[in-house]
């Protein structure tokens, strides 16, 4: 009856309905495409109907007119059939049903092939240099300003009889800045163990705290001073950002450390910490890869490790082959990036090749 009404009213259905598993996804979705109804200009839009038995269809979506693609959330492994109806007020003009379709997860996201290629190249370079570093090949890394100051800073604290405050920031354990900071902490802890200087390490993350504690303990043992290790020197303060900042401000003003290390990932609390530290007269060595916070460290601290300098610093100071090889690999990755930039620009300027599409 409705079909006859539609025919009388002149409402034509959409045609060529095609349903297919969404490519390059984790499963759970099907794309439905169709050719617009010839009456597209007059209709309200399109309703999408789905069936699991090919007979009983239920509405699963609506999309405005002039659009011919919709995505439906599905359950993997179930066979679906789709119909699309052109809708005008109470009238519906149904298409023919689509072919049967099943959604499933893709093993490889072909659309992200450029990321795989970059990962293989960069990862390969890093592994190559780590291999050579482990074989004993000397890998040169230039001196980094700020690291030279660590010895002076620890010495100053020892002479003044004041502690060293090492702030790891808010970062989680998986963040590179936190890992780099933990490496530097290990070296700083070795020096405080040798000079018998008090070390204070407040933490914002329970897992980072666990690792930091192990690292400090290991450093004290490695330099033959396990007796000097104070388990209370590394402690959990607070996860909440400003509570952490308030707690450290309190430590800074009460303990009056001679040196503050602010190394890791920081957010809005960076200036609060750096300003308080500067007001107490401490030498401050900062390092972070949080771009928005670096300006505050540059202005309020004596030395600042900028972005990747922080990662390089942890390699430079620890001299561990794994880290040195990684920095060397990263350096060559930068050379490749610069070369790609220059070559791609030449191609982009002199030819009609759509060079940007390679980086989608």
């Amino acid at each position: 009856m409705i079909f006859i009404l539609c025919a009388l009213m002149g409402l034509a259905p959409p045609t060529n309905v095609r349903a297919y598993d969404t490519p390059d996804d984790g499963g759970g979705s099907i794309n439905i495409e169709w050719q617009l109804s010839p009456d597209d200009a007059q209709i309200d839009g399109y309703e999408i109907y789905r069936s699991e038995d090919g007979v009983n269809f239920t509405k699963v979506g609506f999309i405005g007119k002039s659009r011919s693609l919709n995505q439906d959330q599905t359950e993997d492994g179930i066979t679906y059939t789709y119909k699309v109806a052109a809708v005008s007020d109470t009238l519906r003009a149904f298409s023919q049903p689509s072919m049967e379709v099943i959604s499933s997860a893709s093993w490889i996201n072909v659309a992200k092939m450029n990321i795989y290629v970059a990962m293989i190249i960069f990862g390969g370079l890093i592994l190559y240099y780590i291999y050579h570093a482990r074989k004993g090949k000397k890998l040169f890394i230039r001196k980094i300003a700020g690291l030279q100051a660590i010895d002076d800073a620890v010495g100053r604290a020892t002479e003044m009889g004041k502690p060293i405050l090492y702030i790891l920031g808010l970062g989680y354990i998986e963040e590179i800045a936190t890992l780099a900071s933990l490496n530097i902490l290990g070296e700083v802890a070795k020096k405080t163990a040798q000079y018998d200087t008090k070390l204070i390490v407040p933490n914002a993350d329970p897992i980072v705290y666990t690792v930091a504690r192990e690292i400090v303990k290991e450093s004290y043992t490695n330099v033959g001073r396990p007796d000097a290790y104070d388990p209370d020197s590394v402690f959990f303060l607070a996860r909440e950002q400003m509570a952490y900042a308030a707690g450290i401000d309190g430590i800074m003003t009460r303990e009056k450390p001679a040196t503050n290390f602010l190394v890791g990932y920081f957010a809005a609390e960076s200036l609060v910490l750096a300003e308080t530290g500067a007001a107490t007269g401490a030498i401050q060595i900062a390092g972070t890869d949080a771009l928005a916070q670096l300006p505050f460290f540059v202005t309020a601290c004596d030395y600042t490790l900028i972005g990747e300098e922080l990662y390089a610093a942890s390699a430079y100071i620890s001299k561990r082959p794994l880290l040195l090889g990684a920095i060397k690999g990263e350096d060559w990755s930068k050379v490749i990036i610069a070369t790609v930039l220059i070559l791609a620009s030449i191609i982009g300027l002199v030819s009609r090749f759509p060079i940007l599409s390679l980086f989608q």
């Binding site: 990321i115 897992i207 303060l237 401000d249 930068k334 610069a338 930039l341 982009g348 980086f359």
Partner: protein
């Protein structure tokens, strides 16, 4: 003047003033507020993890609904607690290694996509990038500036050579670009912080004291 009669507004305002008193110097009021803040933050953290994560995601599905697959994350999580038993405290390395391995896998492709590939795409000298500035012929100038800035900044962060000769010159140009970027970020962030201060003053002078509306 219409002073608030809500005791919670009074508590929040007095604690705000106690924290702000740190601007003068460290004092007992600040110390009290600092410790309350730390205690509340940690108490909130524990209850949050218990009610929003452990109970609905782990304990209820595992022990009430019988989702036995969750026994694996449960055991891995429990290994964190071995830290308190010195004889087997080394087991804490297992959950940390799993956690780091998982996140490294998640983050590496995302970082390459967002911080390398997309940035390279936006830096290439080509007509669509010139037009993306919506600045007519000046789009070419801005694109070339970004291009030079990216190459010179990359050379500053090249650690395998001393900053001498050609790399010395390009790295000096690179650090100028970096500092200009920091200047812009500084101004932007200070502006945001001032808006936070204004918000706090509005709370104290409006919600609490009722001096302003």
């Amino acid at each position: 003047m219409n002073i608030s009669t809500d005791p919670w507004v009074w508590i929040a305002s007095i604690l705000s003033l106690a924290i702000l008193s740190f601007l003068y110097k460290e004092n007992p009021f600040f110390r009290a507020a600092e410790h309350i803040f730390l205690g509340v933050a940690n108490g909130y953290l524990v209850t949050f993890y218990w009610h929003r994560i452990l109970m609905p995601i782990l304990f209820r599905p595992l022990f009430q609904q019988g989702d036995l697959l969750l026994i694996i994350p449960f055991i891995i999580g429990m290994l964190y607690l071995t830290r308190f038993i010195p004889r087997i405290s080394w087991l804490v390395r297992i959950p940390i290694a799993i956690y780091m391995g998982y996140w490294t896998g998640v983050l590496i492709p995302a970082t390459i996509q967002a911080k390398i590939i997309k940035q390279v795409q936006g830096t290439i000298l080509t007509a669509p990038n010139f037009q993306s500035w919506n600045a007519g012929t000046m789009g070419i100038v801005w694109s070339v500036t970004v291009f030079i800035g990216v190459l010179c900044t990359l050379s500053y962060f090249y650690f395998s050579r001393e900053h001498k000769g050609v790399i010395g010159v390009t790295s000096r140009v690179g650090i100028v670009f970096v500092m200009i970027g920091f200047g812009a970020a500084f101004g932007y962030t200070v502006m945001a912080r001032i808006s936070l201060l204004i918000g706090k003053l509005q709370y104290l002078l409006g919600d609490w004291l009722g001096i302003i509306r």
